[in-house]
C-alpha cells in the first residue's frame, strides 16, 4: 500500500486524496486511582475535546515500546558514570532486565482533516494531489508544496490545536513523529520501535524539500498472509485466516512480517455501561495485551442529527405497523428501541452544545507469527466480551481496518458500517486518554507501573508497562522533599524497598545513616555489601557514639546537651539545666581538657567545683555504668568516624516508653532507667543523623529509620525528624523510613504532610488498611480499595508464600500527589539483591529475569 501522505510538515500532512490533515500528539490525563470528582473532570475534558472536533477525525492510542537505554538514561541524569562506577554498574544491569521486560508506554495521536472552504481551493487542492500521484507514477521529481499553502495550513492546524482543551497539551506532530507512527504501524508487534522522536526537533524544512518520495516506506499488505501458504487450499484458507501480514516493501533482504489481527467493536452493551468503572478504552491495558486502538470519529451537531432521528422514528412507527399482526414479543422490543430513541433525543436536547459522535473503534494486536496474532485477537475479544462488547474481525476487511488506523486516509465504508452512535458526553465516559503515570521524571528506578494489572508471569507484564522513578533529590521545580515513608504489614516488603533506595544512595556516592531497630539486624547484614560501612551496636558497642568525640567539642557539646536534656529530664532554666549548660560550654570543656563523655562524668563526680556537680555526676553515671551506657560513656571504645559511607546504628533491645508514659505525669515519674535512656539515645541518633547528613550539601545523604514510630514516639525524636525533612532538601538529605501503621507512626500531621512520597504495601488488617488508605489521600471507606490493599497486593498463594512475580506490589503516592500501583523491583545486580534477601524477613524478591 502506498501511504496516503504525499508531503508533511510539522503539524500538517498533505494527502493523495486531496484534503490535508492536521496531526497532534496528545498527553493523557491522570486517571488511575483518582477520586470520582477528578474522574468526572477528566471526562468533562474529553467531552470538550470531542466537541472541538466537528466532522471526521481520528484518535489513536498506540503502544510504543520504550528504549531501555532511554529509560536508563534518566537514571544517569546529572550523574557522571565514570566517577560513580557502582551506579554505572547498577544502570548497566538495569538495562539488561529492562530489555527483557520490554517496558512500554502509550502514545496518543489526533489527526483531523483540514476543511477547505473556497471552491477554487478545492479544485486546486484536487489537482495538486492528482499531479502529485501522477508524478510519482511517472517517477518525476516532486514539486514542493507552495510556501503560502504551508503557512495557511499550519495556521489552520494551529487553530484546531488551540480549540483542544489545554490539559491534553496538543503538540503539532513533527514529520519525524509521523514517520515513527507509520513505522510503528508497519512493524507492530515486532518490538522494533525506537522512542517517539521528541517534539520540537523540527526537520520539516528538510523533509518538505521533496527530493524523493521515500520518507514513508512502501508497505505490502497481505490479507490472510497468502504469501505464507501454498497449494490449492491456500485461497480458501483466507476465509478463516483473519489477520493481515504487513511487510515493509523497502526492507532489504527477507523482511520479517508483522502479523496483525485487526478487529472492530461491532456490538455495544445495550443497557449501557457504568461510569466510573466502564472506561472500555481508558482501561484497555487491563486486558494484558499490547493493543493499539483507533477511534474513527464523526461528530455532528445536534441540529443535523434531528432528520436522522426523525427518520428512525418513522421507521419505528412503520415497524409497529408491519409487526402488528405478529404473535410475539416484537412490540416490547420495539418499545425498547422507542424509549432509547426518546432518551437519545432528550440527551441531545438537554445540552445546547451536545453533539452526536459516531465512533468506529478499531483494535489491533500483532505478533511475529500468525498464531501469536490469532491468539492475541481471541484474548482481546474475550476481554471485550466480559465488558459487554462484541468484537468482530470482518472477513476480507483486515486491510481496510488497517488503513483506517492511518492518519491521512479518509474513512471507508467498512468504517461507517461499524460506527457506534452516542453523544459526546457518553463517549467521553470511555475516557480514551487516561494516564496512570506515576513517579518522577528520573532518579532511582523504583519499579514498574502495574496500573493495568499485576505481572502475569515472571518477565511478562500486563500490557504496556512503564518504569516508575523516584527522585531522591526531590522535585526540582517545586520545593518538595525526596523523603519517603513505606508502610505495610510485616513481610510485605517494606525493608526491601528501603534497602533498594538506600543502596541507590550509596551507589551514587551518598552517605547513609541507618537506625536499625530490628532484632535480627537486617540492616547491619545488608550494609556488608557496602564497602566501608560501619555498624554501631548499642548493646555490644565496638564503636562509640559519644558526641564529644564524634563531632569534637564545639559541635559535640550542643549534641550532648540535647542528649542530656531528655536523659536527665531537666528544663533549661532550672538550676540543674543551667549547670548542664555551664559544664557543656565549649570554653569550659576545653579549659578542663574534657574531650569525652567519660571524662566529663569523671570530672563531674570528682573534679568539678560548681555547685550540684557531684549530684549531676552521680545521676549521669547511673546510666553510664550500665551496659547500654557504654556506647556513649566508655572512653575505651573508638569513636565513630562520620566519614563512613554507611553507618548502621543498631538499637535492638533498647526499651522505649509508650506515648501514655510520656504524656501522663504519674506514669512518667515511674518510668524505668532503660526507657529513659532508650528515648534519649534515639533522639541522639536523630540529632547525629541530621548533623552528618547536613554536613556536606554537595553529597546526597539519607537517614534511614526502620520502624519510624520508635523514633517519633518521643517529642525530641519527632522534632528532629521533622526538622530533618523540612531542611533536608536544601542539604540534599532525605529521610527513608518504614512503619506498619503510618498514621500511628507519624502522629504529627505536619510531619505527615512534609513527606509527600508514600508507598503502601500489603496490609491485610482491615483497620490498618483503612488508616493507610487515608494516609495515601484515598477514600478509606471504599471497599474496593480496601480489598485491593488487603488481598490484591502481593497475594499469597497458600497463605504463606507470594509467587515471585507478585512480590513487592504496592500502592504509591508520588511527590506530585498522583496515586497508582507499582511493583517494586529489587536492585539489578545480584550481590545487591542477595544482600537484601539475606537480611532476614525480606524473602527473595528477585526481579523477573
Amino acid at each position: 500500500m502506498r501511504s496516503g501522505t504525499a508531503s508533511m510538515t510539522t503539524g500538517v500532512r498533505w494527502t493523495y486524496s486531496g484534503a490535508p490533515w492536521a496531526d497532534f500528539v496528545l498527553t493523557a490525563l491522570p486517571y488511575g486511582l483518582r477520586p470520582d470528582k477528578d474522574k468526572a473532570t477528566v471526562r468533562m475534558l474529553h467531552t470538550a475535546l470531542l466537541r472541538a472536533l466537528p466532522g471526521e477525525s481520528l484518535l489513536l492510542g498506540v503502544c510504543a515500546s520504550m528504549d531501555p537505554a532511554a529509560v536508563v538514561d534518566k537514571m544517569l541524569t546529572g550523574i557522571d558514570p565514570a566517577s560513580h562506577p557502582q551506579w554505572a554498574a547498577e544502570c548497566q544491569a538495569t538495562l539488561d532486565w529492562l530489555d527483557e521486560i520490554g517496558p512500554g508506554k502509550r502514545i496518543y495521536w489526533l489527526s483531523v482533516p483540514l476543511a477547505t472552504t473556497s471552491p477554487l481551493q478545492v479544485v486546486r487542492q484536487g489537482v495538486r494531489a492528482a499531479l502529485s500521484g501522477l508524478g510519482d507514477v511517472l517517477a518525476l521529481p516532486r514539486t514542493p508544496v507552495p510556501p503560502a499553502e504551508v503557512a495557511r495550513r499550519t495556521k489552520q492546524a494551529a487553530a484546531i490545536g488551540a480549540a483542544i482543551p489545554a490539559p491534553f497539551r496538543p503538540s503539532a506532530a513533527t514529520p519525524a513523529q509521523m514517520m515513527w507512527l507509520h513505522q510503528h504501524a508497519v512493524r507492530r508487534g515486532l518490538f522494533q520501535d525506537l522512542d517517539l522522536p521528541a517534539s520540537g526537533g523540527d526537520v520539516a524544512g528538510d523533509l518538505l524539500a521533496p527530493a524523493s518520495g521515500c520518507v514513508l516506506s512502501d508497505v505490502v499488505l497481505d490479507e490472510g498472509a497468502m504469501a505464507d501458504h501454498d497449494g490449492a487450499t491456500a485461497r480458501a484458507g483466507t476465509l478463516t485466516r483473519r489477520h493481515l501480514k504487513v511487510t515493509d516493501a523497502s526492507a532489504i533482504g527477507a523482511g520479517e512480517g508483522s502479523y496483525q489481527a485487526l478487529s472492530v467493536i461491532a456490538g455495544v452493551p445495550t443497557d449501557g455501561f457504568a461510569f466510573p468503572g466502564g472506561e472500555v478504552i481508558g482501561r484497555i491495558d487491563e486486558c494484558g495485551l499490547d493493543v493499539d486502538w483507533a477511534m474513527r470519529l464523526s461528530v455532528r451537531a445536534a441540529s443535523s442529527v434531528i432528520p436522522a432521528n426523525n427518520r428512525a422514528l418513522n421507521n419505528l412507527n412503520e415497524q409497529y405497523d408491519q409487526r402488528s399482526a405478529e404473535v410475539s414479543h416484537a412490540t416490547s422490543a420495539l418499545d425498547r428501541i422507542g424509549s432509547a430513541l426518546a432518551e437519545y433525543a432528550k440527551a441531545l436536547d438537554a445540552d445546547q452544545l451536545e453533539v452526536e459522535t459516531q465512533a468506529t473503534i478499531i483494535l489491533a494486536v500483532a505478533g511475529a507469527n500468525a498464531e501469536s496474532a490469532r491468539a492475541q485477537g481471541a484474548a482481546l475479544a474475550d476481554h471485550f466480551s466480559r465488558m459487554g462488547y462484541k468484537l468482530a474481525a470482518p472477513l476480507g476487511y483486515q486491510q481496510a481496518l488497517w488503513k483506517a488506523m492511518q492518519p491521512g486516509i479518509a474513512a471507508s465504508r467498512a468504517v461507517r458500517e461499524f460506527a457506534q452512535i452516542t453523544t459526546s458526553t457518553a463517549l467521553a465516559a470511555t475516557v480514551p486518554l487516561a494516564s496512570t503515570a506515576l513517579g518522577s521524571a528520573g532518579g532511582s528506578l523504583l519499579g514498574l507501573n502495574i496500573a493495568a494489572g499485576p505481572m502475569l508471569a515472571p518477565g511478562i507484564t500486563c500490557g504496556p508497562t512503564s518504569p516508575v522513578f523516584h527522585d531522591l533529590e526531590g522535585a526540582s521545580d517545586a520545593d518538595v522533599s525526596g523523603s519517603m515513608v513505606v508502610a505495610g504489614e510485616l513481610g510485605a516488603g517494606k525493608t526491601a524497598t528501603l534497602m533498594k533506595l538506600a543502596g541507590d544512595v550509596a551507589d551514587k556516592g551518598g552517605q547513609l545513616v541507618i537506625a536499625d531497630r530490628t532484632a535480627k539486624g537486617e540492616w547491619a547484614e545488608w550494609a556488608k555489601a557496602i564497602p566501608g560501612a560501619v555498624v554501631v551496636d548499642a548493646a555490644a558497642p565496638t564503636l562509640s557514639l559519644d558526641p564529644l568525640r564524634v563531632f569534637g567539642i564545639r559541635v559535640g557539646s550542643a549534641v550532648m546537651a540535647s542528649f542530656l536534656a531528655p536523659l536527665l529530664n531537666v528544663s533549661p532554666t532550672s538550676e540543674r539545666g543551667v549547670l548542664v549548660a555551664d559544664v557543656l560550654d565549649p570554653a569550659y570543656l576545653t579549659e578542663h581538657d574534657l574531650d569525652s563523655s567519660g571524662a566529663l562524668v569523671a570530672h563531674l563526680l570528682h573534679g568539678c567545683a560548681l555547685e550540684g556537680a557531684h549530684e549531676l555526676g552521680r545521676l549521669v553515671s547511673a546510666f553510664a555504668r550500665r551496659d547500654l551506657g557504654r556506647v556513649i560513656f566508655d572512653a575505651s571504645i573508638p569513636a565513630l568516624k562520620t566519614t563512613a559511607p554507611a553507618m548502621v546504628m543498631r538499637t535492638h533491645g533498647l526499651a522505649l516508653p509508650s506515648r501514655e508514659e510520656l504524656e501522663h505525669a504519674h506514669l512518667f515519674s515511674q518510668m524505668g532507667l532503660e526507657k529513659i535512656y532508650g528515648r534519649a539515645l534515639n533522639a541522639l541518633i536523630a540529632a547525629l543523623a541530621r548533623r552528618v547528613c547536613f554536613a556536606d550539601t554537595s553529597t546526597l545523604a539519607a537517614f534511614v529509620i526502620s520502624e519510624l514510630h520508635a523514633m517519633t514516639i518521643s517529642f525530641e525524636g519527632e522534632r528532629e525528624v521533622s526538622e530533618f525533612v523540612r531542611d533536608g532538601r536544601k542539604h540534599r538529605a532525605v529521610l527513608l523510613a518504614d512503619d506498619h501503621d503510618p498514621m500511628g507512626g507519624i502522629s504529627s500531621v505536619t510531619l505527615r504532610g512534609l513527606i509527600p512520597a508514600r508507598i503502601l504495601m500489603r496490609q491485610r488488617d482491615k483497620t490498618l488498611a483503612r488508616r493507610s488508605l487515608a494516609w495515601l489521600d484515598l477514600d478509606p471507606d471504599d471497599e474496593a480499595l480496601i480489598e485491593m490493599v488487603r488481598t490484591a497486593t502481593s497475594p499469597t498463594t497458600d497463605g504463606v508464600m507470594v509467587p515471585e512475580h507478585r512480590r513487592g506490589e504496592a500502592t504509591m503516592r508520588d511527590m506530585a500527589g498522583n496515586v497508582g500501583r507499582i511493583k517494586i523491583m529489587l536492585p539489578a545486580r545480584d550481590h545487591r539483591r542477595a544482600a537484601i534477601t539475606a537480611g532476614g524477613t525480606a524473602a527473595a524478591r528477585t526481579p523477573a529475569p
Binding site: V220, D222, M226, S250, G253, P276, A325, S372, D782
Partner: protein, 208 residues
C-alpha cells in the same frame, strides 16, 4: 469508587434496528411473516433468476416445476431467516468474503497486487579489450601505473544503513515467538543511536 455510578448509554440500536416486513402495502398480512429485508430480497432474486433459467432446470411437468421453484425459494427464505437479526449487511459480508478469496498471492503494494519475480539467471559472456593506454603500458612496463581502488560499496546507500534494534526476547507475549535471527533485516527507518547499536550488539551476542 464510592461515589455515584452513572449509567452511560450507546444509542446505536435506537437508530439502526432490524426492519421487518409483515404486511403488504395494502395492509394485508403476509403469510409466514414477518420477513427481514434480506429474506424478501433473497426470495425475489431467487424467483427472478429461476424464472429466467427455466431451460436449465424446468424439465418436469408444470406442477413439478412450480413445486421446485416454491421449494427452493422457501429453502432460501428459511436459510436467510436463520441469520441473526442484528447481523451485518449480507452484501457487505459477501463483498468481504469475495475480497478475501481473490486476494493476490503475494499481497498488495500501492493498491496493486505484488508479483514476486521468479529467480532469473543472468548469463554473462565477456571478453575484455585492453585500452590503447594499456596496450602502450604493456609494451613499456616502466610506465605502468596503479589506479587507486574505487570503493564501489560506498556508493550504495543500502549498505550504509544501520541495523535496527534487536527484538526483545522476553517481549514475546502470550504465544512464544521463534527466537529472532541474530542479524535482523535492515530497515530504512530512523537511524539508531550509538547506544542502541551497542544494545543490538549485546543482544545479538546473548542470543547466540
Amino acid at each position: 469508587m464510592s461515589g455515584q455510578v452513572e449509567v452511560v448509554k450507546w444509542y446505536t440500536r435506537a437508530r439502526r434496528f432490524p426492519r421487518l416486513v409483515g404486511r403488504t402495502h395494502t395492509g394485508g398480512k403476509i403469510w409466514g411473516g414477518p420477513y427481514t429485508i434480506t429474506q424478501v430480497v433473497g426470495a425475489v432474486v431467487v424467483v427472478i433468476v429461476m424464472l429466467n433459467t427455466t431451460s436449465l432446470w424446468a424439465k418436469g411437468s408444470v406442477f413439478t416445476n412450480v413445486a421446485i421453484l416454491a421449494g427452493i425459494t422457501y429453502a432460501v427464505v428459511f436459510a436467510l431467516g436463520k441469520m441473526p437479526p442484528d447481523a451485518r449487511n449480507p452484501l457487505s459480508v459477501l463483498a468481504g468474503a469475495a475480497g478475501a478469496l481473490v486476494t493476490p498471492r503475494q499481497g498488495r503494494q500501492g493498491g496493486r497486487p505484488l508479483r514476486a519475480v521468479p529467480p532469473q539467471r543472468l548469463r554473462a559472456r565477456i571478453d575484455v579489450q585492453p585500452t590503447t593506454d594499456q596496450r602502450l603500458s604493456c609494451a613499456a612496463p616502466t610506465a605502468r601505473r596503479v589506479a587507486a581502488p574505487v570503493p564501489a560499496a560506498a556508493s550504495r546507500p543500502e549498505l550504509l544503513r544501520r541495523a535496527p534494534r534487536p527484538q526483545q526476547v522476553a517481549a514475546s507475549r502470550l504465544v512464544a515467538e521463534p527466537a529472532p535471527e541474530a542479524a535482523p533485516a535492515l530497515v530504512g527507518g530512523p537511524v539508531p543511536t550509538g547506544l542502541q547499536q551497542a544494545l543490538a550488539r549485546a543482544a545479538a551476542g546473548r542470543l547466540r
